[in-house]
Amino acid sequence: MSGLVLKGISKSFGGTRAVEQVNLIFAEGQLTALLGPSGCGKTTLLRMIAGLEAPSSGALLLGARNITDLPAHRRKFGMVFQNFALFPHLSVRENVAYSLSISGVGRSEAAERANRLLDLVQLSAFGDRRIGALSGGQRQRVAIARALAQEPEVFLLDEPMSALDAKLREEMQVELRLLQQRLGITTVVVTHDQREAMTMADSIVVMSNGRVEQVGSPQDIYHRPENAFVADFIGKANFFDGVTEAGGIRIGATHLSAKPNFVNGSPVRVAIRPERACLDDDPGENRMPAKVTFVRDLGPVREYHLETALGPMVVEYALGEGGKTLVIGDQTEVRLPPEALHVFPDPQAAVAAE
């Protein structure tokens, strides 16, 4: 097998376009996260990969094999559902051994393999329990073990952490990633939580309105967003609307030095991450007066909310990073390094330079 390939996949429900012309390559042995807001089509895409929905157009290839018309029960991609979808009438071990039992594997062999998988997910002592007697985290592990029992070529997870509390979610993200790396199985995870995607994924696919907005490594997506949606959805960013001019961008009465790749006079959106803006005395371009309107101490980071000539802005300092200690009402100066500015075409009317 050499990965999973999606060629021009689209899906419509009546007149609604849920997924539009998606072309993706899921590299073998890698974990890819489909990330986007609710209703962006990521779950529909995952269901098409699983064979639970038929694409309206396009093709799915597993290696050289076209699996577009292959029904779900013949694809046998292991899938973990959002609500885990465990069978309440079966014990934990029977749940894990389900795929083996229905495929004709002998009872003792199925039980033995189920025990090995329960051991893998650290639930070896829970085999005889009913599903109702498990906690959320334990249920998730059973769902993972059950999906892995058939040794699938592709492992799919639909928002697997959404039913867990915040602390357990963090733990399970790491555990799942370690397990996936250990097994080396091609994995696709659907999530709307960018932190979850950044923790687990080798590659992130950012989706919006049924389209793929950007594909890349977590670092790429965060530091080099290709459009305003990605910059906004992944992490936090300050946005300003302006127009390109010689040597930079004009935002209201302020000129910002930048290197926008647009012809002069193009309407653009400028973004800067809160941790890239500076409240320091270093000399540099794009320095402007600011007034502190709010201070928020989140433990690992401290946020300064500022009022500037560009509009409201948030600047973030990590613990121990230094910087000034300011209080509400203080007057200061904020610096926006040109290399930290991301300039995107205005979604309404952009004229890209040739």
Binding site: G51, F77, M79, H89, S99, A149
Partner: protein, 325 residues
């Protein structure tokens, strides 16, 4: 008067005032009326079942077990033992069991499909099914009577379209004759157990859909999808996921329809041969029909009631046993 004295005085006369409020009296009154309406007829039937029939006349109050004796071993006991009335009870059970199973088995896939439709389509179907419940048993049986009658119904259609001849040519006609569904000349559905069970099943089919619909609506579809991603085909999903998940409502619906069908009267009188009539028909014959033997009719009614109760009890125990497993 101090506050403490005022509270004490209020508390002292409250019970007297509460006894007099209509809100307190009304539930008791309603319970009493419903109790009388439900319990008195039952008690009367039980009391009459111990009464004595006067040959050539009516019956008198008494306390004799003759009627019960007659039901189990026949009127000629001890000289001769006959099981005519037990046989009728057996037919009651047979028809009710098969018809309720048939109704539930056919309603299940329909209801499952129904739950997959849009809300609007579901509402339209449910309204249609509910409206069919307004049809009386007599009306439904009349419709089926025409449909299955030898001269104007399906047998006539079979003959005119050449289907009867085709059945004869392929050799299946003899099989239908063996099953009592054909005369030497044509197929024949009246009288037959087939027509009786089919009509009884049709009578309760809307109830089966309505009883199963809530449970199937609540069914977690992701469980079926999970099974499919693990290699389960349609039948395997139904057998290993859907049926276990709805085992209790399925069993409960079948039991309820079975008890309901034990009392079917019109369908049996129209479609079943006299030798295969049920206890319900015999009860009517004894109480209002030719026999005018109310005590024996009441005895049969009590035994039918007890049988239904035993079935419900056994069903409950079976359920608990299955749950425990």
């Amino acid at each position: 008067m101090t506050a403490v004295e005022r509270i004490a005085a209020d508390t002292a006369d409250r019970p007297a005032r509460e006894r007099l409020t209509p809100r307190r009296i009304l539930p008791w009154l309603l319970s009493a009326v419903i109790g009388v309406l439900c319990v008195v007829p039952f008690l009367l039937v039980i009391a009459i079942s111990f009464g004595r029939k006067i040959e050539g006349a009516a019956w008198v109050w008494d306390f004799t077990l003759e009627n019960y004796e007659r039901f189990f071993v026949g009127a000629l006991w001890p000289d001769e033992v006959t099981f005519l009335y037990l046989q009728q009870l057996g037919f009651s059970f047979w028809y009710a069991v098969v018809a309720s199973l048939l109704a539930v088995m056919t309603a299940l896939p329909f209801t499952l499909l129904l739950t997959g439709l849009s809300r609007r389509a579901q509402a339209a179907w449910l309204a249609f099914i509910l409206s069919s419940l307004s049809l009386s048993e007599v009306f439904i049986v009349m419709g089926w009577d025409i449909l299955l009658s030898n001269n104007s119904g399906l047998p006539a259609l079979f003959k005119s379209t050449g289907l009867t001849q085709w059945l004869k040519d392929v050799g299946w006609f003899q099989t239908l004759r063996d099953w009592g569904l054909a005369s030497p000349r044509n197929v024949k559905f009246k009288t037959s157990q087939f027509a009786t069970i089919l009509t009884m099943s049709y009578l309760v089919w809307p109830y089966a859909v309505i009883l199963l619909f809530p449970a199937l609506s609540r069914l977690d579809r992701s469980q079926s999808e999970a099974a499919r991603t693990m290699g389960a085909g349609g039948w395997t999903v139904a057998r290993t996921v859907i049926l276990p998940a709805i085992r209790l409502p399925l069993f409960g619906s079948t039991l309820l329809l079975f008890v309901f069908l034990l009392g079917t009267y019109v369908a049996v009188t129209v479609f079943a041969a006299p030798a295969q009539h049920t206890t319900a028909v015999a009860i009517y014959t004894n109480i209002r029909g030719a026999n005018l033997n109310a005590p024996f009719g009441a005895t049969q009614a009590v035994i039918l009631l007890i049988s239904a109760g035993v079935c419900l009890g056994l069903g409950h125990r079976l359920n608990r046993w299955a749950e425990a497993r």
